[in-house]
Symmetry: C2
Subunit: 356 residues, 2 copies
Amino acid sequence: MSKYWSKVTKSLLPYVPGEQPKDKKYIKLNTNESPYPPSPRVLEAIKNEANEDLRLYPNPECNELRTVIAKYYNLQEEEVFVGNGSDELLAFSFQTFFDPGRTILFPDITYSFYPVYCQLFGIDYNTVTLDDDFNVPIDKFFMENGGVVISNPNAPTAKYMPLKDIKAIVDFNKNSVVIVDEAYIDFGGESAIKLIKDYPNLLVIQTLSKSRSLAGLRIALALGNKELIKGLNMVKNSFNSYTVDRLALTGAIEAFRDEEYFHETRQKIIFTRERTTESLKKIGFTVTDSKANFVFISHPRIKADIIFRRLREKGILVRYFEKHRIDNFLRVSIGTDNEMEAFIGALNEILSENGL
Amino acid sequence: MSKYWSKVTKSLLPYVPGEQPKDKKYIKLNTNESPYPPSPRVLEAIKNEANEDLRLYPNPECNELRTVIAKYYNLQEEEVFVGNGSDELLAFSFQTFFDPGRTILFPDITYSFYPVYCQLFGIDYNTVTLDDDFNVPIDKFFMENGGVVISNPNAPTAKYMPLKDIKAIVDFNKNSVVIVDEAYIDFGGESAIKLIKDYPNLLVIQTLSKSRSLAGLRIALALGNKELIKGLNMVKNSFNSYTVDRLALTGAIEAFRDEEYFHETRQKIIFTRERTTESLKKIGFTVTDSKANFVFISHPRIKADIIFRRLREKGILVRYFEKHRIDNFLRVSIGTDNEMEAFIGALNEILSENGL
């Protein structure tokens, strides 16, 4: 710890992203990336944009992309904000809508970046304990608070909360902002976007990193009432006027235009998820009901960290969280059918190594 | 103002970037972009990187780019941090090294984003008044403070402070971090990078947006003692693990590799700046001594805002700041020789319109 660090820096326990190893080629099921490449139209558009105009700043308002997204979701451009991945949008949102001294609420088991933002911005939080099946007890959000954050489907549990429950939470909390983090919504859930017209306190965050195969491009969107979006712009323009580069803007526009490719690849992932779930259950795993591009699994006889390490040795990366209540679970991203067959094969080997 | 905004959001007066108009084609001398395209090798590298790997997250540590930069500047990789433009690096740096309650210092006339960061992070600041010729009175920095920020060459004055003065400030302030913002250093100044080995309290920030013609790609670097860089990583990883996308990483690497193109284009800009300065003086303008890719000019008889508006009507954009002490100046980016001839021609017309 350096004497030159600010007090807040000294207090931080940063988020740790899933590993991106370079020592050998792995089957990478640890960071919820899409196993399919981006749309060929996206790659083509980016290549065309790699031209002399890169000497110029991007459009700081991202107008063209925001227009395309607004049209796609039947919103107005003023209800759309775009940024450098949903982590950046979450960071801006915590700072824009939550105040030190007003306690915010989120589930005890959820995206582990939320408490990190709270540390960074000095925001107090309480966690709502999920039930034993990782369901969200929605009545626990029916109390005075300074804001609510819900990941739906939730990570890493993969569980989806029906839209009527989201609506009940947003409806009760009219005096605070409810952020619904929909990073995984395109894999079978129903988005809360349709509630935006009725609820000025609802902010929906989505990303192009998962269902649109563009984790490497850093693009996400926040959708909500224009007053919320205006607030986000205040904070963003006090931090960095240009967080989305020219190539990312162009690629994102084309990703929204190529609807066919989007639907085709996400359907493939959903199909593989269902197949994988069946196979996992057959060999004795507990699998939560997933509406995401990953599954959350546990075995009654072999500890998750043992399976995690053994899979790694066999060249398969999954995610293990050494955390209370979920330290016997693994989060496994859905790969291609071939990758998931290799994964099931490796699990079968591990089971027999353990005499099962 | 919305009831959903946090207290800090309600207090913000965001930075306003130079306009990026779309109504017609302008000669754009208002945002200090390079008039020259990026190196052809950079564009080629980006095109090659626009491939299926965009489905994968970028390397959050940016190791390859950091190795290239470290080698270029004869530093260690642990002394290099990269981010999404120097605005992001400045924001991270203010948060990492400055504390509420410990007053930081920067010049009264400088990059107008600095006070905005202070608002955003609740940091107190005092400004040091530049002398009438916009020189920095360095002894004013020889006092107790919570940090120092110096833009060198300074913006928008274009004036350069010799390295011995920077060294004196860094040397006196061993208990606080001195940030030297070198966005424009490649146009004739001497970088403070060589002081890093001796001063653990020095952070140097540079960007690829100006001298490397990559404003559209969003890449900048912070260089300093490894403890400072470690602090920056703490904050960044509590905000957004991946702020630099795959294409930007690749483009930036190639920009550092193509040294020849870099030297050729920046020399051209320096040459055009000197020619432009001479022409401006000939027609009666006051021009500060510039070591940047822009000039800061004033006319004794015609008000700057009048020239600004008339140039705009003639299709030439420059930057006018309606601010105390500099409200009779214009900041003019250096374009190509042809663009600067058109600019001088337009000024001549404006002079004769005003009977001069």
